[in-house]
Symmetry: C2
Subunit: 224 residues, 2 copies
Amino acid sequence: MEDYIRILKGTKLFSGIAEDEISLMLSCLDAHLREYRKGEYVFRQGEYISTIMMLVDGELHIQQDDYWGNRSIISHISAGDMFGEAYIAPESGALLNDVVAVEDSTVIFLDAKKIMTVCSSACRFHSIVVQNLFFAISEKNRKLVMKLGHISKRTTREKLISYLSAESRRQNSSDFTIPFNRQQLADFLSVDRSAMSNELCRMRNEGLLRFDKSRFTLLLPEKN
Amino acid sequence: MEDYIRILKGTKLFSGIAEDEISLMLSCLDAHLREYRKGEYVFRQGEYISTIMMLVDGELHIQQDDYWGNRSIISHISAGDMFGEAYIAPESGALLNDVVAVEDSTVIFLDAKKIMTVCSSACRFHSIVVQNLFFAISEKNRKLVMKLGHISKRTTREKLISYLSAESRRQNSSDFTIPFNRQQLADFLSVDRSAMSNELCRMRNEGLLRFDKSRFTLLLPEKN
DNA sequence: TACCTTTTGTTGTAAAAACAACTGATATGT
DNA sequence: ACATATCAGTTGTTTTTACAACAAAAGGTA
């Protein structure tokens, strides 16, 4: 467990907590550790969880099989990421996803109830962790809403406009760089890459924007 | 303010708190109230907020204008709903949406910092509210992830399969009722209603499912 | 430099969705 | 019972997307 203190220090949950403090908190939070071999399931759909998980080594997929057996990958967890935090509320119900190791992985489990309830003992930093947890889930929330806003647009052009507008707003400039290449942007907006490439070029020809690689410039239409 | 205690009692944030306790907490949380006329803005994109809002009367839209001025409605707030809770983290940045009253509305503002920090005074129920807040945002989170899973499918059929599978799983039966009519389901999945209706009937003809109004039955394909 | 890989843009075709307009069916209210 | 409104399904047309295959450009490296 102690081997991973450094990793934990870099996570959102333990942000602002010193390494020796984390070490103390781990016992307070009833932390335990488990290793998984590649292909092993960490959780299966239908299980109930009462812990928050930190992946400290390896790689996991959160995936889902539909009624007819088609599998789809919901998200990708790397070392330092937290998962399961949205399922610790008592009315959360069962997990709707499988969590499976795609590489040999190491997971630290933290007792959710002990995180949520400020303990009477010496954990001076407990309330910081509670705040961190709340802020982390808030951030996930904001990102989800934004992405939903983009994806729920009907056409590829509208999705692009929605995403590029938001990015321009976020970076406070009509000229900005996005953190995706074309394929990644297409995956993010869940559209076909070539169709998207096509649409981008059409928009450029219409004078809506300019771009070079991942750098975009939005243009207001000329007044005639 | 006191007029709305009953409404507050029914909200997720104050769940499990008695009316007289809520009344006490309101001053502890530095609650204040403001009324808005239809069409008035509660917040504008770019503002920073440090409060959590409860809509106790009326109706709001959370909406967004893109770079070129096209407006789109992100979500719809009714009396008893909470909003803004995902923006109280210090690193949240500015609001990305406008919040506007579509009817005459009454909003109660609660100081976010005072909610997050357990106070020294007599609020025995403060920690319940903190938990409620966390659980509420968790629930929003789970719903967002699920919706994103459905919407990010490419075709209308896949979206339907994804949604109906999840609903079947949630209700633990291949036979279940959905909380939407056709138009609402189409809006939820952000597809065209008639195209969706079309697809549903095609799926029925292929023996994938049966439905009557909002009641659906999923069927496993016959073995030949 | 020559070779390989990755990334992006382009084209054509088939499939799917959006859109509009209409038909029944089923409420709802007077 | 009548008028009205709402909802679901259907059809035909236009627009958009997905998909596949390829070309061109950029970058890395042996």
